[in-house]
Amino acid sequence: MNFDKELDAKGLNCPLPILRTKKTLNEMTSGQVLRVIATDPGSVKDFAAFAKQTGNELLSSAEAGSEYTFFIKKK
């Protein structure tokens, strides 16, 4: 999947992946896609909840080994 920006949130724990994501999205324009890579297992539910509450669209959420990759489209 294509993306405009990437955020490496590996090794960070709650709530840092969400806070960094929010900050990065603030620097982007509407419709752009952000790819986030995290290692916090709690982030799977958190990113879904973040998307639902902020209106930014979670395009995909995938797990590979101990890494989680999220694609988020800015509202």
Partner: protein, 170 residues
């Protein structure tokens, strides 16, 4: 009432462990679009000091706190050091040692530090209000606290809290 979601927190604890919930929830709420205020009162004022080195954690009288070592081989890290209260209270600098170990554990787990979370709250425009009555009660000066803090009383808190969706006492 407008559509803006709001959250208010009353922060009353002055230890390193209890500094986490208010700052984690406030920064996350702000990221989710909530207008957020924290009202710091009594020991919670410790969290607003310029110098946060006074925030410590004490396992004394806290049976819920596991004491595990943040370093060494795996078998060593897995030991739960069950140290009786009577011993804890007699050992000098016990809290300093426990605090140092906790800070190391926090670092090992990729958990943010309190100064970091507080800064993230401020960047996200979480409003900090210090209870003026307890500031005076404990002999603090406004200069002890970080910039950007507002000072007020219970009525100030209710002005905002009365319109919130979520209101927590921590």
């Amino acid at each position: 009432m407008d559509d803006q979601k709001k959250m208010a927190i009353i922060a009353t604890k002055g230890t390193l462990d209890w500094a986490y919930p208010p700052f984690i929830l406030a920064s996350t709420a702000a990221a989710l679009g909530y207008e957020t205020q924290i009202f710091f009162t009594f020991y919670g004022l410790q969290m607003l000091r310029k110098d946060l080195s006074g925030l410590k954690v004490s396992p004394l009288g806290n049976p819920g706190m596991p004491m595990k070592m943040p370093f060494g081989p795996k078998w060593f890290k897995e030991i739960n050091w069950n140290i009786p209260n009577a011993v804890q209270s007699l050992v000098p600098f016990y809290e300093d040692v426990a605090t140092t170990l906790m800070k190391q554990t926090i670092k090992n787990n990729g958990v943010a530090t309190i100064p970091e979370l507080r800064e993230l709250c401020q960047e996200a425009e979480v409003k900090f209000i210090a209870c003026q009555m307890t500031v005076e009660l404990f002999g603090f000066e406004h200069s002890d606290f970080i910039d950007g803090v507002e000072y007020g009383g219970a009525a100030t808190f209710f002005e905002f809290a009365g319109e919130t969706d979520i209101c927590l006492f921590i």
